[in-house]
Amino acid sequence: MHAAPWCPEPEPEANWCRVTPMPARAALARIGDVAADDVLPLVGRLWGGARRSVDELAVRLLGSDFEERARLLQARYAEAGGDPFGLDLETAKYAIMTCAFFHRLWFRAEVRGLENVPAGRVLLIANHSGQIPIDGAMIGTSLFLDHEPPRVIRAMVEKWSQTLPFVSTFFSRVGQVVGVPENARRLLEMGEALLVFPEGTRGISKPFSRRYQLQEFGNGFMRLAIETGTPIVPVAVVGAEEQYVNLGNLKWAARALRMPVFPVIPQVFVPFGQMPLPTKYFIHFGEPLHIQGDADEDDAVMEEKVHLVKQTIQSMINRGLKQRTSLFF
């Protein structure tokens, strides 16, 4: 270790004499020393402190075993030589932390029936609501934070999202895959938990007047379940409908902007109204349905089976609504 220039301790005379002919260089050297000895450690300490406090908050929010859960899952994927779809828990961890804030503090989600989700491959079929897919993130967060063992939820995203920088990478790092049937089949073969909203856009962007009424279901998930022999777990989310109040969809605006829908949400014009309203979420996982049959059967036969699932979810929603006493508590 070398002495700082302003404390003339061991043999400063000789040093100063040698340096004086070149004052500019001496000044630069001194700045360099200060930077190396004082500023860098200070920045390092501040950075370390900030990270520690983030970590502490994380423990309070996520429970002490959060890191362990992330490690457990990481090990599970590493065993298979890494997730082929690009899931990276080091990155996903931070996304889950953000979601955990909403799950624990903002929406104060109440989760029931998590024990109904089996450990192996499973299709989670849920109602879709709330204008932006927060419901999916909350279902995923529940499965990560509260399910034993922790699960990563896999869902399908729009194809065009792959053309967007950062978005495509983010989706892939948190385990979301491009919505094509081959990917769904492969995920189930890998023993993953696949979340599907059979209502799609019809469900998520429906106006406030039609809240908690299930829209038309697609048939694709049923064929997939039968073909791969996957149990279906119906999921009902109550509370998401009211996070953004949609007064109606403007068809002409949607057409002009080439969007699937153009919802009218007055609250976004109020300061801080862009955040979803802090309604209370109730997430209910139903008992798994094992549906038998032939995957190549007629649409009419499929629709009957789909209807069964739809009925189950609708009655779970209705029960949840009956039990709910207040929107926010």
Partner: protein, 334 residues
Amino acid sequence: MAKRPTPKKPTPARRAADGAAAARIEGGAVVVTGICGRLGRRLARQLHRERTVIGLDRREFVGKPKDIEHHSIDVRRKKARELFRRPDIGALVHLGVMHDPRLGAEEHHTWNVIAFQKLLEYVERYQIPKLVLLSSANVYGPRPDNPQFISEDAPLLGANRFSDIRDLIELDMLAQSFFWRNPGTETVILRPAHILGTVQNAPSNYLRLKVVPTLLGFDPMMQVVHQDDVVRAVRLALRPGVRGIFNIAGPPPVALSRAVKLLGRPTLPIPHAMARAGVERLWRWHMTSFPAPELDFIRYVCMVDDRRARAVLGYGPKFDLGSTLRAVDEERWV
């Protein structure tokens, strides 16, 4: 001139003929086109100890092992046909697909398609019992709506956005129709993922750059395969009884950023619009060997499902991810 073969019926005679064909595939000479390329030389070096290897390439074979017979002739010439007339030829391995995007489309097309058509004609006329074409997983093309793993029966859409590889797709299609028309020849099409090694192809050249440019915000998953794994796949394809299309993949897929990090190279992320404009200019000024449409390969996924190769061909990669990636830095004296 020999007559066209008549389709055989499944009779005892056919079975005997099959046995003869199998013996011919196993014991006969192997004609390798494009043998003077880096991959061709590697294949020749492995193959010539076990069986007769005949090289067919316009180029000179530098450092040719003594027992390899090499013909520096154009496949389209009459002399090439004379070669195939020999009764001891058991298989044709076509590696001579030209991939130089600098050469004009016309020259490319004539060489690749016409030459391969000629070869197919010889194989049909002289009833060569085995044909192996080294195609590429690039025929599927990197696209935003690709499934994560593309299977062999997927459409070949690679030329949608990158028209320079349409002759490779045409070759693949020619081989496919040949497969159906000529059941007497065991046709094998191999579609390997990005081949890495001493070879001079775009992915290896890309990873050899001192600073690796990437697209800002894009980090697709990639499959890479070691050149010697590809050589092994070709040798497995030469066994009697193997026919059809096989995707060939290497170790488990890896994100592009991680692959570059494993190689210890710095990256330079560039926004896509800028990168595209830049590469187009550089290409026009002959300052890069990468045409702009190839940027899609570092933007979207183009990975293959190799389960068929594992089950039917008995193929599995011998090289792990680290050694496959490091192969691009190997000494290139072979």
